[in-house]
């Protein structure tokens, strides 16, 4: 094996600067593994041993972490690692055909490294480029708006072994595509303005404003932000050395959503202001931004912004002249694991472990990062908190609906004329959104991503709000020509791929369901398989450890209920005899009216009658 290329002494020397930079801290294991992989191209056995020694963890623990994340590799993956985003919108734009084309051009099989070790091509979960797909990641950088011509050029560049940094710069352009601005996206707040406003109000008044605003979490669950902050602020710190922590959840992994990417790319200072405001309110000394691995390309710009904030006294010692408050922000990179968007799995990942959701209670606000009181908020929630610090709770509560105050960013993609980010006050109807984005012939909208809900035509009058259609932000439109069965099948495979494997129902159930969908797709399915899907759905909903498993069958459940023909036309046999016979149930009516002509019959019996005549 290629492992032989790396001898232990050489490996240890190469790893030395990395582990030292991370102070041999086992909590930084994931970051160390990521950086080690950049050196070796993958994680050789010897490197895992050396890292385990350096951070004083059992080697098996280190291997267990490396084996958990999609973007960490225990085997060589080629010098060019090309990953096609596999969201349904990428597929709708032809990503499958483009990937086949690239594989053919490079003479390789999907998922396997070329024999010379040069290149591998595979798929990855949604990369958050749905508004400018089809997209892929090469060496961790996103390449958008793929076309056949571009694929051919890529194959030439790979074969000529041109470094990715020398590929045409315009290929890597990521557009914001902001289509509708409201209070957040139109905000012209300068860096630090919201934080200074918060400090001027003082902690008590700030929390009071937050309470009046009735701000609820934008990550999907809709928990009241004020309650989280107040709990964390009052919770005792177990460890006198450690303080409270503020975590920004930028692990935007729900397929179809990309609004946090836009916020981080173009409103980063507002995000950092929101983090600082929250930290000030709860008395946190350390902020952590957990950035999904797919967004690693945002890192240099974010670090630059943080450095500027330090220079301007917005981070560091005695922030904003508050003698008793030191605060700084650190960025942690994820490594390809959707489940880490769940806040306790995110904390596990932040602590350098496998991203497995914790048992709750205790909740993070009581015992979170390093066992200390921790607030975990979504990127958008923190931006809203910054706006509330600036303009007050009553102003915010005046927007949207009573139970869903403020505005919501939607990531709109699919069969629409203008995909991109739209900001609306809560309470906007699906119809209105569809009209604005130019979705002429929509038959369905997936709101909130695969774990959200699939709405059919007759539900388009419903409204985006916690009390009606809640959403973390994804809004994927399917035109009348789309096959909802294939949409659901894509989502089933997504959940099977992203299940952390901790609990039995989700680990086994998501794969059983994905296999079931493949069986139906092959034309080998029957009513029995549909019954199986419902049965597994009920079990996962009841017995799964976290939201991933509980919602994993939602897209199948919704499409089975609302788009049944998409499934049934694939079934080999319906294998279903209704308990009552429609024609038989008319027999009394026939008797009473003295009729027995074909028009008095239903179904095949009507035909039989006709033939007899």
């Amino acid at each position: 094996m290629a492992d032989e290329c790396f001898d232990a002494t050489a490996v240890a020397a190469l790893l030395q600067p990395i582990v030292e930079r991370h102070r041999r801290d086992p909590l930084r294991l994931l970051q160390i593994l990521r950086e080690a992989q950049e050196v070796f191209g993958y994680l050789p056995r010897t490197a895992l041993t050396a890292i385990a020694d350096a951070v004083e963890l059992p080697r098996a623990r280190v291997e267990g972490v490396a084996g958990f994340y999609s973007f960490l590799h225990l085997k060589p993956v080629g010098r060019y690692r090309i990953l096609f985003s596999d969201h349904v919108t990428d597929r709708m734009l032809g990503s499958v055909e483009l990937m086949d084309r690239l594989c053919n051009r490079l003479w390789i099989e999907r998922g396997k490294v070329s024999e010379d070790g040069l290149v591998s091509v595979d798929t990855t979960s949604c990369t958050g480029m749905c508004d400018q797909g089809p997209a892929l990641l090469v060496g961790g950088r996103p390449l958008t708006r793929l076309s056949a011509e571009r694929i051919d050029r890529i194959s030439e560049l790979v074969r000529a072994q041109v470094a990715v940094s020398d590929w045409p710069e315009e290929w890597f352009l990521v557009a914001d595509n902001i289509r509708r601005r409201d209070v957040l996206l139109a905000s012209a707040a300068t860096p630090g303005e919201a934080l200074r406003a918060a400090v001027a109000r003082g902690r008590e008044q700030l929390l009071h404003e937050l309470k009046r605003s009735n701000l609820r979490g934008r990550g999907g669950a809709g928990f009241t932000t004020h309650t989280k902050w107040e709990t964390a602020r009052r919770a005792p710190c177990g460890d006198p050395q450690g303080g409270r922590y503020l975590v920004c959840n930028a692990d935007e992994g729900e397929p179809g959503t990309f609004k946090d990417r836009v916020l981080l790319a173009s409103h980063a200072d507002l995000v950092f202001d929101g983090m600082s405001v929250a930290a000030f309110a709860i008395g946190a000394g350390q902020g952590l931004l957990y950035l999904r691995g797919e967004y690693a390309w945002l890192l240099p710009a974010l670090h630059e912004k943080l450095a500027r904030r330090r220079r301007n006294g917005l981070l560091g010692v005695a922030v904003c002249g508050q003698e008793d408050w030191n605060f700084d922000i650190d960025i942690h990179l994820g490594a390809g694991a959707y489940v880490c968007g769940e806040e306790t799995a995110l904390l596990e990942s932040l602590e350098g472990r496998r991203g497995v959701p914790r048992i709750r209670p205790p909740y993070p606000a009581q015992q979170g990062y390093r066992g200390q009181p921790t607030v975990v908020n979504n990127v958008e929630t923190l931006c809203k908190a910054a706006l509330i610090a600036l303009r007050g709770g009553d102003w915010f509560a005046g927007l949207g609906s009573k139970q869903s105050t403020g505005t919501k960013l939607l990531s709109i993609a699919g069969d629409v004329e203008s995909p991109g980010v739209y900001e609306y006050p809560f309470g906007v109807s699906i119809d209105q959104v569809l009209h604005d984005c130019g979705a002429g012939n929509a038959q369905a909208v997936q709101v909130g991503g695969p774990s959200g809900s699939c709405l059919a035509l007759h539900e388009f009058s419903r409204r985006i709000a916690f009390e009606d259609v809640p959403t973390a932000g994804a809004f994927t439109v399917f035109g009348a020509h789309r096959d909802l069965f294939e949409v659901a099948r894509n989502f089933a495979h997504f959940f099977a791929h992203e299940s952390c494997g901790f609990c039995t129902p989700c680990r086994v159930g998501t794969t059983l369901v994905a296999n079931c969908m493949d069986k139906i797709a092959r034309g080998d399915g029957s009513q029995y398989d549909i019954n199986e899907i419902f049965r597994i759905h009920r079990l996962l909903h009841a017995a799964s450890h976290c939201g991933l498993g509980q919602t994993a069958c939602n897209p199948l459940f919704d499409t089975l209920n609302k788009f049944r023909p998409a499934y049934e036309r694939r079934l080999r046999s319906l294998d279903f005899a209704p308990a009552f016979d429609l024609d038989q149930s008319l027999s009394i009516a026939r008797q009473m009216t003295g009729r027995d002509d074909p028009a008095a019959h239903f179904g095949p019996a009507a035909g039989v009658q006709r033939a007899e005549r």
């Binding site: 098996a60 958990f68 992203e498 129902p505 086994v508 450890h545």
Partner: protein
């Protein structure tokens, strides 16, 4: 003040503050099916066999703290049906051939399958490829039967202080690994005297040269169904030094 108590299938069950539903039930001699739970170790809550309905919500009995006045549904057709489905999932996920297994009759998975009247595996078999590890002089690892309960992981870490076992992979690819660069048990500090050698509820960790010492038919769950037995001290049966 009165002792707090919960209602378990309508029966009052007293508990002390801090106990889980599982602990309260076990103390009262009431059986709640479970696989990854073991009274000697920190609750884990991953197998989900102990799923009960507490005040109308599905929860894991092994991790949910008991509350005064809580109404818990345990032995009901709905819950037992869900548990049976979970067992079927575990059976198809691994390679479980009871008739040829050294642990037959001492196996918690098998005992629960009998208890919950699981007649078939129902789902299509996955038939995963899981090579055995026979490198260690005293112990054989047959990963085919692993149900990922992490009892060996917890025992080796928390009792033996050796961290011989861990989990790697994700989702359906999750699997047990050992603490050695070679990936072989022989290259770890594992010994037959370790606690971790005697906690496997199924037939993964087996002492060599002790096969079928106790004849099939005379084993723990051959004698009495699991629900009738007193609270389980250790899952080790015929295959272990104490037996």
């Amino acid at each position: 003040m009165n002792t707090p108590s919960l209602l378990l299938d309508g029966l009052p069950v007293p508990f002390s503050v801090g106990q889980t539903i599982m602990e309260a039930a076990t103390a009262a001699g009431i059986f709640i099916p479970h696989l990854c739970h073991h009274p000697d170790f920190k609750p884990q809550g991953s197998c989900k066999l102990c799923t009960v309905k507490a005040n109308g919500r599905y929860v894991s009995a092994c991790t949910m703290p008991a509350k005064d006045g809580m109404e818990v549904e345990n032995n009901s057709p709905d819950l037992n049906d869900k548990r049976r489905t979970l067992l079927q999932m575990l059976f198809v996920e691994g390679n479980h051939f009871c008739p040829s297994c050294e642990k037959s009759g001492d196996c918690l998975l098998q005992a629960l399958a009998y208890e919950l009247e699981m007649l078939t595996a129902h789902f299509p078999q996955f038939y995963p490829d899981r090579p055995v590890d026979a490198s260690h002089p005293e112990v054989l690892l047959d990963f085919n039967r692993c149900i990922l309960c992490e009892l060996c992981v917890r025992a080796s870490r928390d009792v033996d202080g050796k961290n011989v076992f861990a989990l790697s992979g994700r989702g359906i690819g999750k699997h047990l690994i050992v603490n050695a660069e070679s990936g072989r048990l022989a290259d770890t500090g594992f010994a037959l005297a370790d606690k971790a050698a005697h906690v496997c509820p199924v037939g993964v960790i087996l002492a060599k040269r002790r096969g079928f010492l106790q004849p099939i038919g005379c084993r723990r769950y051959d004698r009495q169904p699991i629900a009738m037995q007193p609270a389980r001290p250790l899952a080790s049966g015929g295959n272990g030094p104490e037996s």
